[in-house]
């Protein structure tokens, strides 16, 4: 379609699809549509172009391949985000939540011992001296961890309950540093 007549028809069809024709022009064009396949094809073509231009501005999930529900896609995206978040959280917690891991790490890493201490409130007697010695050397313990252990120990002391002297000893040692 490239003639002036075709271009006029396409423009008329575009205006019709956009609802821009006045009442009389609209009626006149609809009379034509009732019996003019070329006019129907022009409306189809204009409608298709409008739908596609509208989709250009839509976010990707709204432009779907057949049989894809945008709402379902959105839910899927949120589920994926949630799954990633849960995986990250799980990865962060694994070293601290598995008893075997806590024991093995605690025996080698002073920072991990401190974390274990804070979480469980208990440190095996045989490890206590190691903790004291190594913390003196080269452990960079975050300030929030020191404060947390210290406050927890003080709270337990004041409350007259707690797992025992080991905690106080450990926290006291850290506080000195």
């Amino acid at each position: 379609m490239s003639s002036k007549v075709d271009e006029d028809l396409n423009w008329l069809a575009t205006q019709y699809v956009l609802g821009e024709l006045s009442g009389a022009d609209r009626e006149s064009f609809e009379t034509r549509l009732a019996d003019d396949l070329a006019a129907c094809e022009a409306v189809m073509s204009a409608s298709r172009l409008m739908l596609t231009v509208q989709a250009v501005s839509a976010p990707d999930p709204a432009v779907s391949t057949p049989a894809t529900n945008p709402r379902r896609s959105a839910r899927g995206a949120w589920a994926a985000v949630a799954a990633v978040c849960m995986a990250v959280v799980a990865l962060c917690l694994i070293p601290f939540s598995t008893p075997d891991t806590v024991e093995s790490v605690a025996s080698n890493d002073p920072a991990a011992q401190l974390v274990s201490l804070w979480r469980t409130g208990e440190v095996p007697d045989e490890d206590l001296e190691d903790v004291d010695d190594s913390v003196d050397d080269d452990v960079a313990v975050p300030g929030w961890m020191i404060a947390a252990v210290s406050l927890e120990a003080q709270a337990k002391e004041l409350g007259g309950r707690g797992p025992g002297d080991g905690i106080d000893g450990a926290s006291g040692k850290v506080q000195e540093n």
Binding site: N10, E41, V43, S47, T52, V63
Partner: protein
């Protein structure tokens, strides 16, 4: 057009002593259904109503399509679809409710409706059109986006741009001409 568009009847005419089979109607739906639904959306400007009318149209094809004479399949379908669309619009403009049977069918076919409407706009076509729009002059792009995407009237756009209405209409017309030419040509290719 009908001779090379995959029309199962090949002759472009529905000449048959008996009703068309469901398979024949299904085959015609595969060939013309998408274009017919797009046309009806243009007429009714409501995908759900357009879907309903397209279903009625193919129902009519099943019932009386074989009686059509000297008509191309595509022409017959568009004519019936437009007639049904006007009847649908009149019915609703009088505030009459849809018949219960039609409503029931719509509910039953909701999934098929969603799929059909979504299939009208294909991902690759959107990507292609996005590229084509980038090639338009900025002032034409702006009018197209404001009118079609933002759904502002031409008068509002002209007012915001502080240009005559005729200028906005000319920009839109030139843009549509180019897009249809590019889009149609690449689609045919």
């Amino acid at each position: 057009m009908e001779s090379d568009d995959g029309d199962p009847t090949n002759s472009g005419k529905l000449v048959s002593p008996e009703r068309l089979s469901a398979e024949a109607v299904r085959a015609l739906y595969e060939v013309h259904g998408r274009d017919l639904l797009t046309f009806l959306i243009g007429v009714l400007r409501d995908p759900e109503s357009a879907w309903d009318v397209s279903q009625i149209t193919f129902q009519r094809l099943l019932e009386v399509g074989h009686l059509a004479r000297n008509e191309t399949v595509r022409g017959w379908l568009f004519k019936v679809a437009f007639h049904e669309a006007m009847a649908f619009r009149r019915k609703h403009s009088r505030g009459e409710r849809l018949q219960r049977a039609v409503m029931d069918r719509l509910e039953e076919e909701q999934g098929e409706f969603e799929t059909a409407v979504q299939s009208l706009v294909r991902k690759e076509e959107v990507a292609r059109l996005r590229d084509l729009m980038q090639q338009l002059p900025a002032e034409q792009q702006f009018v197209v986006r404001q009118r079609i995407q933002e759904e502002k009237t031409f008068a509002v756009i002209a007012d915001e741009l502080q240009v005559p209405l005729g200028t906005v209409l000319t920009r839109m017309r030139l843009a549509i001409q180019k897009l249809q030419k590019w889009f149609g040509r690449e689609d045919a290719g």
